[in-house]
Every structure is written in C-alpha cells, then in structure tokens.
C-alpha cells in the first residue's frame, strides 16, 4: 500500500513536465494514482493551485468535472465495467452479475474492507475485446467467468496483477 506523499514529493510530480497549467489534468491524475486513497484531497488541491498559480476553486472545478478524477477516497481497486453499447450488448451485464456475486456488492458500492469498488464506465476504446473492465490504467478484455474470478483472486492475494504501462486485453 502506498504511503501518503510528502509535499516535496507532490511538488516533484507537479513540476515533472515543467509545471504548466496546461498539464493540470496529467498532474492531478499522477497525484491521484500516487495517493493511497486514489483521490485528490483538499490539501493536494491547494498545493496544486499554489504551484500552478490558479485558484483552489478552479482546481476543485476541474477535479469534480472529469470522470477520471476523484474528490473522495476510493477503494484500493476500483473495477470499472464498460457499459457503452458495444460492450453492453456483448454480455457486459453477465460480467456485472459475476462481479456482484463474487464481491457481494452492487454497482456503485464498495466492499467493507475497502479493497474493491464496482462501477460503470463509458467506452474505454477496447471494443474489439468487449466485454471489458478497467482497473487503474489497465484494461482486461474478452472476459469470461473464469478470467474474472482469477483477476479478483489475484488482487485479493495481493498480486500486483496490473502494472502501469501494460494492457491485459488479449
């Protein structure tokens, strides 16, 4: 589990690519994925505002507008099931069903241990391997019951099944 970043570490992320206002989305996404709870907290937002010389309310507006940015603590693994039409009519409902059963939660809920959350996402651009789920930056496609259960089991066992820069849609 990641530790909370120090202000200096956060500043390093902010200035990694020049610290320009144009990079605010990449900066917020990087900060979010490095945070232990997977969201942009108030303190971090204030720091970003100061470093990029924009107002905190502007940072809040941006963080609350974009679907990939979160302003509340998230589960360790957020399982996002694509429900856009190519996936939805390629049996994504069955995927939801299996996940609900396996995790004993509904869509929009988190497990009580804070390990998993389940929600829908619009198209992630992997329609040739639908139905798909997205976990962090990784997309898992061509799902069937066996594959879904092994992904969950792997995550439960603490396997870092998903690594950055890698796709699992084949």
């Amino acid at each position: 589990m990641e530790k909370t970043l120090t202000d200096d570490q956060k500043k390093e992320i902010i200035h990694k690519n020049g610290g320009r206002k144009e990079n605010i989305l990449a900066i917020l996404l990087d900060l979010q994925s490095a945070s232990p709870d997977g969201y942009v907290d108030l303190q971090t937002a204030a720091l970003v505002a100061g470093e990029l010389d924009i107002t905190e309310s502007r940072v809040y507006e941006i963080a609350s507008y974009y679907a990939m940015l979160q302003i509340r603590p998230q589960a360790r693994y957020v399982l996002e099931v694509c429900n856009s039409s190519p996936c939805r009519f390629s049996k994504s409902e069955a995927v939801v069903h299996i996940l609900e059963q396996e995790l004993d939660i509904g869509v929009g809920q988190s497990t009580s241990d804070g390990l998993f959350a389940l929600r829908f996402t619009p198209c992630v651009g992997a329609c040739d391997s639908g139905p798909v789920i997205k976990i962090g930056d990784a997309v898992y496609g061509n799902l069937d019951e066996k594959k879904i259960r092994s992904i969950i089991a792997g995550l439960r066992a603490g396997h870092t099944l998903f690594r950055k820069g890698e796709n699992h849609d084949r």
């Binding site: 990449a26 198209c123 992630v124 820069g165």
Partner: protein, 418 residues
Amino acid sequence: MIDNLLLKRIGKMTDPASIEEYTAMGGFEALRKAVVMNKMDILSEVDAAMLLGRGGAAYPMGRKWRHLYENPRYPRYIVCNADEGEPGTFKDKVLLSQDPLSVIEGMVVAGYLFGAEAGFIYIRGEYRNIQNVFQQALDNAVKHGYLGKHILGIEGFAYTITIVSGAGAYVCGENSALLNSIEGVTGRPRVKPPHLADVGLFKQPTLVNNVESFANVPLILNMGGEAFRALGTEKGGGTKLICLSGHIKNRGVYEAPLGTPLDDILYNEAYGGGISTGRPLGFIHFGGQSGPIGFPEQMEGLNYSYEGMRDRSLAIGSGALVVMDNSVSIVEYLESVIAFFVHESCGKCTPCRLGTTRLHELIGRFCKGCAGQEDLSRLENMLTHITNLSACGLGQSVSVSVRSAIRHRRCEFEALIG
C-alpha cells in the same frame, strides 16, 4: 482489396517509436518533400485529396487549412484531437500506439505550412499507457532533428509538440471544449462562431484535426492529392479506418478504401467475416453514439462512402460500425445510447442537460412497457428541442440515432405502448 496504406507499418515495427524503423519504411519522406514545395502547392494537394475530417464531422480538410492559412495573425497553433471517446471507436488508438510518428509527421508538415511553433496533442486520459509511447516517439523525433529548432537543418524552422492528457470527458472531443481543456480551464464547449481557425487556442488562429486526418497528410504528399482522392470516391478521397465491434466475427480496426461495398466489410473474411452469433443482422450503429442507425433494408447494395452513406441518410462519422444481430431490441439499444449522453452532457446548456435526462426517462418508459399513447410524439418533440436548442455538437447530435430508428422501426416503439 488494396494493400494497407495508413496501416502499412502497423505491427511491422519492433519499436513503433523508432525513427530508424519509421524512415526505413518511408517515414519523413513527405516532410522532406513539403519543405521544398511552394506552400500554395501544398494547399492545392490537400484540396485535391478531398480528405473529409476523420474525427467524425467530415469537414473538408482543404477548406479548414485554407481558412487558417488566410488568417494573417501569429502565433498560430496546431492541435491534434486524440480524445477518441466515441463508443465503438478505437482506430486512433492503433495509430497513436503503433505508428505515432506518422501522426507526428502530419503535425510537423502542418507546423511548417502554417509557420506555427507549437503543436499540442490532446490524448484521452483512458489512453495513459499510450501517452508514454507517444512521448517516446516525440523524444526520438527531437533527437533526430524532426522536432525542435532548425528542423531538417532549416534555419528558422522551429516546432515542438506537447502531449496534453484528458481525464475522462467525452465532450472534450468537441474541438472548442478540447482547446479550453488545454488552456487549463474546464473542458466545456465554447459558443461558435468565431471559427477556431480565427479564435482558437489562447484566442489565436488554430488548426484542430483528428489523429487519422494528420496521419493521412504524409500519404497525400507522397502520392499526390489526386491519386489520394482516387483511392476513394468522387466526394471523399482516401481510405478510411473502420472499427468493427459488437456481434461481428472479426472485431477490430481495418483500412478500407472509401466506396468499398458494405457487404464486403461485414461478410468478407478479410474484414468482418460475418455475424458472430449466427443470427441475421439486426442493425448497425454508424460513426459513434452520435451517428445514425442503419437497418438491413436500407443498406442493400450500399457502398461505404461519404456520398453513398449520405444518400441513405447514414453517415461515416468516426468510422465505428457497431453491429447488432436481430435479437437486440432497438429501443433497449437506444436506452444505452441515451444513458451515455446523460452521463456525458457537460451541463453548460439547459436543453442538453435536462433534455438528455427527459429523453432517457421517456425511452425508459418504452423499455418498461409503460409508455402512453402520447409518449411517442412527446419523444419526437423532445428530440427537436434538444437538436435545435443545444449549444454544441454533443446536444445537437443526440437525436440522430433515435430519429433514424423511429423512421425505420416506428412499429417497434408503438408495440411497446402499454
């Protein structure tokens, strides 16, 4: 069938970001050609190519380029729209991840032509992994003198490209929203006019083209505008990347010359290879969620070209073909389409924000079988309101799929009236 042109390097490079491999397969020849051409001749070639914008709006690239060229203000900016978010569309992903230098070459040619010093590529947040590959390609291009100062050793030819990441907002694929997002303000659309070629990024003249459009620029210059046009049809030149998904056997991205018979695309083993479920075709959703739906009786003998599609009230759009067999209820399908728009409406203008929600409720009534006699006309009125009153292309195109379905399958809606 012809050999792939736009996809010719896909899967053939061991490192898609390698300059050596790219140039060994014809890369940067177009740029070398462009820098010794008269700029008016470059514009004429682009005009002759009859390339219609590949992002989905099909705006003639030649017209867009001339518009910007004639604006005397500097600085000018070049922006590549890589916010590929139309459900059923995943073709830009292939170019960005497997042949990024072709996109970069197209953008550098534009930079040269328009005397721009800065280019931006806005890549959707869901493609974070691809951003790394693209950055590698940019870094390599700088190292080899295809970006940066004195490009190709030419005094005064300086141009950089910067990646800007999206973070999950479909509406940022709308060009003015995309520019707002690059400026670091919330990605909501602007009211147009003014045209972005006049008042674009940081209020300066700006060219915004799609990934596939930019990747076509080297092809146009290498083969000549007229030869490029001749790959396609009279009204639209070139080949088109198509994305097959849904109930089709060979799901994936293919390159098809414009004018290819739709039946080839669906049933030829080299493309779709037929319906995957063994059932008859039900309908095809063309060009993304904002595109029209085509039904079998409407598509007999259809050629996949801009004019061929338009003559049947269909459209190519982004190149998506979401194929559904006849087990899928069109009304249920539309419920998922409208749910998408409810999620993605940015909320700036009321007709779209509330209209999409009302539309979703109305279609839900049909799905649940509790629609009343008056609900179909209410639905049609709501479609008119959203289309005519919404500020941007998102709201204006919400109605396209529903209207095309009502036109051809009115009976299916009527059958659900309780």
